[in-house]
């Protein structure tokens, strides 16, 4: 059953272009130049109940804008969207009680007070039954291992601890849909791992729907069963994480470990040499010719070990993004 539906959703901003210098500042008082930025260009998307969807894309691709639209923070320029049957930007309390938004770069807790005070306020704002509140809070703080920090002012928590408190606050009212905007930004590897483990457990146990934006591939690989790649405000890919490689990478990475003193000098004939660390060599080989290359190598050389792998996901996506950035420049120039 689809819980989030977007049809032709678009958002454009009119942004003032300020030129450099005092004269330009004075001129700007009377005559202003604006540029239309199309942050989201007509997105169609359907998300089912219980899906954990990742939004991937370079900076400025439209990921956060889409989450802002879905959480009702901003109003679209055109198109429609419903989340659990609600139009987000109408900001009905009935809707606001059913979702939560966590922003990695924004603090929603009271800075100078212990997190437990913010939790208590959330209980009141969301009208959570006291017994249910105690139960949920205890469960969340235990899962996130922050019970001992409940009485510490938020300003004195580390970034990772604060994010755990933010997540606790966001989940107190048991939202059915959770929007996460870069929840692990700036966190160290251990803190990232803890948050990932918690999100995975919580999502599986409650079967809630989560949409996540992140630049950390490990977040996405660990959590999401579906990836939506967005660039230039449009959806470029919608599918599984491994499907990205099949679709966007035409290469495989071949690692060959030659037997003693058998390292050939003409490796380039097999493919692009990425790294040589005698007697090991790593090659980038066109996907179509991998079987031929393998049989040729095996026929001509003695090998200790051999492996054929997909290129790292980060590399494929980075390549894809750099192409989309070039297209963005072209599109901006023609608009």
């Amino acid at each position: 059953m689809s819980i989030i539906e977007l049809h032709g959703l678009a958002k454009s901003y009119r942004i003032y272009q300020k030129k450099e210098g005092l004269r330009a500042s004075l001129t700007g008082l009377f005559q202003r130049e604006y540029r239309d930025v199309h942050a989201v260009r007509g997105i169609d998307l359907t998300v089912d109940q219980g899906e954990f969807v990742a939004f991937l894309g370079p900076n400025g691709a439209g990921k956060t804008t889409t989450l802002k639209l879905l959480s009702g923070v901003i109003t679209p320029s055109s198109g429609t969207a419903t989340v659990m049957g609600h139009v987000p930007w109408l900001r009905e309390n009935a809707y606001r009680c059913r979702f939560a938004l966590v922003m990695g770069q924004k603090n929603q807790l009271w800075w100078d007070l212990p997190a437990q005070e913010s939790f208590r306020l959330h209980q009141q704002i969301y009208g959570i039954d006291p017994a249910a509140f105690d139960r949920t809070r205890d469960e969340l703080v235990d899962l996130l291992d922050v019970r001992d920090l409940l009485r510490q002012p938020v300003r004195e928590l580390s970034l990772g601890e604060r994010m755990k408190m933010e997540l606790t606050a966001a989940l107190l009212h048991s939202p059915e849909v959770l929007f996460l905007d870069e929840p692990t930004i700036g966190l160290d590897v251990i803190a990232q791992h803890n948050i990932q483990r918690f999100l995975k457990h919580y999502q599986q146990e409650r079967n809630i729907t989560i949409m996540l934006t992140s630049h950390y591939m490990k977040d996405i690989a660990a959590l999401c069963n579906r990836v939506v790649i967005i660039a230039l405000g449009q959806i470029m890919y919608d599918g599984s994480l491994t499907g990205i490689i099949d679709r966007f990478s035409g290469h495989k990475v071949l690692t060959l470990l030659f037997a003693d003193d058998q390292m050939p000098s003409d490796l380039a004939r097999y493919g692009e040499v990425l790294e040589i660390e005698e007697p090991k060599v790593t090659l980038r080989v066109n996907r179509d010719v991998v079987p031929e290359v393998l049989s040729s190598v095996l026929a001509n050389h003695t090998l200790q070990d051999i492996s054929v792998e997909d290129p790292p996901l980060e590399e494929v996506i980075a390549e894809m993004f750099s192409v989309s950035q070039e297209e963005a420049v072209e599109m901006t120039n023609t608009e």
Binding site: I74, R96, K106, L113, S118
Partner: protein
């Protein structure tokens, strides 16, 4: 209704706790605000002395003797303690600019009501710190007053203080909401404060003003932020004039409630969700 009252109480309680975090700085700031009283008392003494050529006793300027003048100044200070809203408009505009306002847009909470409760908490902490110095100053200056006013005058004075608080709050909240359109409201606030300085009566009684300025102050709501309540206490406004004044003040409160509500609703619809 009970649930809503509990929510309000929780917001108020947490706001009070937050205010008390920096109680030392708050207490020093509050106490320092009493220093200008001494200079004002001496300033008006010098003014009356010069104007009356040394015959201060019985000398009046626009119906105010020296004692009335000091009493007026002290009362205006009390009224300002209710109606002034430090950092309210700038705080709203800043939260719009840096995106902090987003949390109010995604939670089932009324931003204006929330701000009002946090401001009440701010004032309650302020009064709890300032009540001692206020009592001391009024005790030391008791000679400038001709006794306590009648209970009905006192009740009207208290009502005008509450209305003054609400008017000050909703006027500044409306200015802060302009941040949805201009992002930065400090210049707008400067103009407001400039007019406030002259036309609220915080520096001198507004009945000092000659024509046509006396008409201007009657037409704008600023007099209710200092002059009007002080004039009630001193018995300068009585009878039908007092009732009319209170009704007009209440009317201005309702007007600015509507302005801030409409500004919030329209502003949210044009909000760009700044700050990531």
């Amino acid at each position: 209704m009970l649930a809503r009252a509990t929510t309000w109480w929780t917001i108020l309680r947490i706001s009070l706790e937050e205010r008390l975090v920096y109680r030392g700085d708050f207490a020093i700031g509050t106490l320092m605000r009493f220093l200008p009283i001494v200079t004002q008392i001496f300033l008006w003494l010098a003014v009356f002395d010069a104007a009356s050529r040394g015959e201060i006793e019985g000398y009046e300027i626009s119906g105010y003797g020296y004692s009335d003048m000091v009493a007026y100044y002290l009362l205006a200070m009390v009224v300002r303690a209710f109606s002034s809203m430090p950092d309210l408009a700038l705080g709203i505009a800043l939260s719009i600019r840096n995106g902090d306002i987003k949390k109010f847009m995604i939670q089932p909470i009324d931003l204006v009501g929330f701000l009002l409760l946090t401001r009440i908490a701010h004032k309650l902490v302020y009064y709890s710190v300032a009540i001692g110095p206020f009592a001391l100053v009024f005790y030391l200056c008791r000679g400038y007053f001709s006794g306590w006013p009648d209970p009905d005058i006192m009740a009207s004075f208290c009502l005008s203080l509450v209305l003054g608080f609400l008017l000050g709050f909703f006027m500044e909240a409306a200015i802060g909401m302009m941040g949805f359109w201009f992002l930065e409201v400090s210049s707008l606030l400067f103009v407001y404060m400039l007019f406030n300085f002259f036309f609220s009566g915080q520096m001198f009684p507004l009945d000092f003003l000659p024509a046509p300025w006396d008409t201007l102050f009657q037409l704008i709501p600023l007099q209710y932020l200092a002059f009007f309540p002080a004039a009630i206490f001193l018995g300068k406004v009585q009878g039908p004039e007092l009732v009319n004044g209170l009704l007009i003040e209440a009317g201005w409160v309702v007007f600015f409630i509507l302005v801030s509500r409409v500004a919030l609703r329209r502003g949210m619809n044009r909000y760009s969700g700044y700050g990531g």
